[in-house]
Amino acid sequence: MMAVLVVAVAVQRNLFSVVVLTGIYSFLMATVMVALDAVDVAMTEASVGAGISTVLLLGALYLVRADEAKPMHRPLLPLLVSIGVGVALVYGTLGLPAFSDPSAPIHTHVAPRYLNDALRETGVPNVVTAVLASYRGFDTLGEAMVVFTAGAGVVALLRRRRRDVGDGK
């Protein structure tokens, strides 16, 4: 079903349908995350991927034409590049440990300590929250900084332009 959606997104020339289809794709991705027991990620995917980014894309669509322009040259080289990257990525995944293999490096490093000690050390039953806010507090601080910088960048770029327009009148 997701593959059908991807093909539809690639074929579709009407940008409005593309935006709606990517929103549906995000929701399907969220259900995949739920199936993988990553409920926190699923929630983020559903709210950010399907919700906010769809709205932002629609807002951007309001400013441009609704139909994709015809490509200027044949898409042979991009097609080759993306197939090459895809093959390389699939080849890379062959070297990964099997799915939910208990002896995989990710399950033997710090994860057992978090899972076993998080409740006792932090008093927070949701291990994801404990890891995000406490054990990896610096990373999350960095993420908050990134979000803030993104907002500040958008404000700086778009507001100056608006004032220029006002001056020009």
């Binding site: 906010i52 709205v55 932002l56 951007a60 309001y62 507090g137």
Partner: protein, 142 residues
């Protein structure tokens, strides 16, 4: 969409529940799925719904630009302030153990304020990005 009665009524009905759900996600994030980031996004989505149905100027009256812009910085400052509080109370930066006499309570307190900071920053940044994009092409002093 300002003249669509059904949309207006449904949007007004939805707003409190969306905000309540955001608060639930925020403060229940320690027990179930969720946390500051998701809660912030839900708050932003509620206000964006309001802006889409009632128009951007109405949403700007509801949440003035100055508040949104200062909230962007306040959230990060709360987060960083938790770290500084840890320093002042005799730990390392972002050490939560020292925030209370009981280290576990200190952890809970630190995580709580950190999540509050994340939620404030995320919600205001999402809102700001939306309103910046949505207000392009219109009169700037609208």
């Amino acid at each position: 969409m300002k003249n669509d009665l059904v949309l207006r009524v449904v949007a007004k009905l939805f707003m409190p529940f969306m905000l309540l759900f955001a608060l639930y996600v925020q403060f229940h994030g320690e027990l179930g799925p969720g946390g500051g980031f998701q809660a912030g996004v839900i708050v932003a989505a509620a206000v964006i719904l309001y802006a889409i149905v009632f128009g951007l100027p109405a949403a700007r009256r509801l949440v003035p630009d100055a508040i949104v812009e200062s909230m962007m910085a306040i959230g990060v400052l709360i987060y960083a302030g938790v770290g500084v509080a840890g320093l002042l109370m005799g730990g390392a930066y972002l050490d939560y153990f020292v925030l209370d006499r009981d280290p576990v309570h200190g952890q809970e307190r630190g995580i709580f304020w950190v999540e509050v900071g994340v939620a404030i920053t995320v919600s205001s940044v999402m809102l700001k990005i939306f309103s910046m994009f949505a207000s392009r092409g219109h009169d700037p002093d609208e």
